[in-house]
């Protein structure tokens, strides 16, 4: 007699990659919940260091060993999409009637091109001012005034007044007094969080855009406006403020050491993204406060960026992969991630969960939340084709301006021509 076996088919295993060690516990918790709801699917999570992550993904595409689902990035996915390595989620979204209106701002749009959808948004980040509370107090600045700073490229507005006051030279004079020596500064008003690059996410984009500059005409545009005089005057202000001794010299700052410089007390404020909240909390021996960015002529502006999960075209388990991506894009999963207080979830209703989780850790992150959820403040990361070439060209130009004293107007003009030629 043949024993009839109810075929409990072996669980399908899908592989999921991410690079952020801090988010690993959150996603492991999501996987546990997902597996409870889908007992025939197991999710194998692999965390790879940032520098190996993208080479691993690209090599995986070629050698056929890429993960089924992976955390994707706005600067990389256009190329993957062009090479047809990502599954278009639009038909799946339509088929399963997934509600795409639950995400903050235009995050969903960031991940679509020509009607195709390449990821479901999972989190967002934006930029604000981190400051050293002790130094603020010592300078006699009332933290309540930080919410209303204004900035302009001519005299820097009240923002420049602030960083001048917070810059102290070896003789104890601050930047607003007459005898301030820019060559012997022991505490700088502002630390730039790294080498400014083509997008200036933390360093210059908010200044420039609040001044009226725009990168291009929208997502997937084929023309940049780096030659806009409003951008040149922004850079001119940054270089001049540096010469005045209010900003740490560009040659001493890169993304590896800038947070460390702030933690070591070399600067009173640093402009940085919400992904750094926990790092500053844990590595600074002093209390760290968060303030919103200064307002330019166009108001307050902050670059809005967000990650999403994409499905590899070569995945052998696409239906299961879609179930996992759909789960990760859902309010339920993002509430779990939000409660770990590492990132802000893309689903609007879960943002407050993150805010409370951060508050429990002692960080008031309301400036980030207010900026991130205000459509008048956020502007999108400029997603385009040829991203790596744009970065290469603009990095060289901006390095010349910041490190070699080149004239911003002419340098940006010729760089912009080169960039636009890529799209010809």
């Amino acid at each position: 007699m043949v024993a009839s076996t109810v075929s409990a088919h072996a669980a399908t295993e899908i592989s999921y990659w991410l690079w952020d060690t801090n988010q690993l516990p959150a996603y492991k918790a999501c996987a546990a919940e997902f597996q409870k709801q889908n007992p025939d699917i197991t999710v194998k999570i692999t965390q790879t260091a940032w520098s190996d992550y993208w080479t691993g993904i690209s090599t995986g595409f070629v050698s056929g060993s890429a993960p089924d689902v992976f955390t994707d990035h706005l600067a990389r996915y256009p190329e993957f999409a062009l090479n047809e390595q990502l599954v278009d989620l639009a038909p799946l979204i339509k088929q399963d009637k997934v509600d795409t209106g639950i995400y903050v701002g235009e995050l969903f749009k960031l991940w679509s091109k020509e009607g195709k959808q390449y990821g479901l948004p999972k989190d967002w980040d934006t930029i604000a001012i981190f400051y050293n509370k002790d130094m603020m107090k010592a300078a006699g600045v009332d933290p309540a005034t930080l919410a209303n700073l204004d900035w302009n490229p001519k005299d820097g507005g009240s923002y420049q007044q602030l960083i001048a006051k917070l810059s102290i030279d070896a003789a104890g004079k601050d930047g607003t007094s007459a005898g301030f020596d820019p060559k012997k500064v022991k505490q700088y008003g502002l630390v730039m969080p790294g080498n400014p690059d083509a997008y200036g996410q933390s360093e210059w984009s908010h200044f420039a855009v609040s001044n009226g500059f725009k990168f291009n005409d929208g997502l997937w545009a084929s023309k940049f406006y780096y030659d806009d005089p409003k951008l040149a005057e922004t850079f001119k202000w940054i270089v001049d403020a540096g010469k005045k001794g209010f900003i740490i010299p560009a040659k001493d700052c890169n993304e590896n050491n800038a947070p460390g410089l702030f933690a070591a007390g070399k600067g009173a404020t640093i402009l940085h993204g919400s992904w750094m909240i926990n790092w500053y909390k844990e590595n600074c021996k002093f209390e760290v406060g968060i303030a919103p960015l200064a307002k330019g002529t166009d108001g307050r502006k902050s670059m809005f960026n967000g990650l999403a999960d994409s499905i590899w075209m070569g995945s052998k388990h696409k239906p299961e992969a879609w179930k996992w991506v759909k789960f990760l894009g859902s309010p339920e999963a993002q509430k779990i991630v939000a409660s770990y207080a590492v990132v802000f979830p893309a689903v609007r209703q879960d943002v407050d969960t993150a805010k409370e989780a951060f508050a429990k850790k002692g960080m008031d992150v309301s400036p980030f939340v207010e900026e991130g959820t205000d459509p008048k403040v956020t502007f999108l990361f400029p997603v385009t084709d040829h991203a790596s070439d744009v970065v290469r060209i603009m990095q060289a130009a901006i390095d010349r301006i910041m490190l070699s004293g080149a004239d911003p107007t002419s340098t940006l003009k010729s760089a912009n021509q080169e960039v636009n030629a890529l799209f010809q």
Binding site: W19, D20, T21, N22, Q23, L24, Q47, T48, A49, W50, S51, D52, T55, G56, T59, S63, G194, E255, N256, N257, A258, P259, G260, A263, A264, G265, W275, M276, N278, W279, E282, N283, C284, K285, V342
Partner: protein
């Protein structure tokens, strides 16, 4: 140096000593900073970066990179700490070094013996080809070798990492050939007359005669292979086969926030330096003498 020399030029002697001391400090200070940072508590690095002694000295960094820390330790929950299984990486380096050095010395010795002592048609032509092979920049060979490893299915395996080096390197053959040429041929001729075959001569006469240079070559090759980075980086990315240098590179970007986990990174670096440092401390003089000797040829 004798006393009359010092007496006639004491200033020259003192200046020489001062220069040597300065050079010693300049060379050793970076290593000391690395060691000091490795022993510093992670929370204290930013405030004590310019101190010469570790602040809040602790062994915790070594414990956590080697995977010996208690997973429930609250210190491990801090953001900015990178994750790494460095013990595995050190083990992998040990396996990789052994897999390369043992066959390489053995086969290079045999090849060197053939070039030095055996007469066969085309010997000089083949040796000439070896000379030209050393002139090819290593970087040119990476892509063809990578494609070969991919075809063989040896990506992310030990044999894939060891393959280009395991048989020989031109330097090893050169070095040993020089050594073998330096010995008088009479010993072998005598053995030959007594009826010894080539293999007997090789194993019973040549090798025992040159244990010194073989040892030197082994040490030099081991140090080079222990520190090898680029080829294992191309081939062995998977944490299960990552060697020490590749693991350190990967660890550099492992902490999420963008700034490296400095104390952990320095702990890994110090652990990576220790074997080479020990080797050089115990065998350094011998190595220098051997190189001097071959140079004098």
């Amino acid at each position: 140096m004798n006393t009359s020399e010092t007496a006639s030029n004491p200033w020259g002697h003192r200046i020489g000593l001062a220069v040597l001391i300065i050079l010693a400090i300049v060379s050793l200070l970076p290593i000391w900073i690395a060691v000091k940072t490795a022993f510093t508590d992670t929370g204290a690095i930013y405030t004590s970066a310019s101190a010469l002694l570790p602040k809040d000295a602790t062994l915790f960094n070594f414990q956590r990179v080697l995977g010996l820390a208690n997973p429930a330790d609250p210190r491990l929950a801090k953001s900015g700490l990178g994750k790494i299984d460095f013990l595995r990486a050190l083990l992998n380096s040990l396996i990789f070094t052994t897999m390369v050095v043992v066959p390489q010395i053995f086969f290079s010795a045999m090849a060197a013996f053939a070039f030095a002592r055996l007469k066969f048609p085309g010997r000089n032509l083949i040796f000439f080809l070896f000379i030209t092979a050393t002139m090819i920049p290593g970087a040119v060979l990476f892509i063809p070798n990578f494609i070969l490893m991919k075809e063989l299915g040896w990506l992310n395996t030990f044999q894939g990492m060891a393959a280009p080096y395991a048989l020989m390197t031109p330097f090893s053959i050169f070095f040993l050939r020089q050594m073998f040429l330096g010995t008088p041929a009479e010993l072998e001729e005598a053995a030959h007359i007594d009826g010894a075959g080539i293999l007997t001569i090789f194993f019973k006469i040549m090798l025992p005669l040159h244990t010194g240079s073989l040892a030197t070559l082994t040490i030099l090759t081991s140090i080079a292979m222990w520190n090898e980075f680029f080829w294992p980086f191309l081939i062995g990315r998977d944490p299960a086969v990552q060697v020490m240098a590749v693991a350190i590179n990967s660890f550099r970007t492992q902490s999420a926030a963008g700034t490296p986990d400095w104390t952990g990174l320095m702990a890994c670096t110090v652990l990576g330096i220790i074997p080479v440092a020990l080797l050089l401390i115990f065998f350094g003089r011998k190595v220098v003498e051997s190189i001097q000797f071959s140079g004098g040829k």
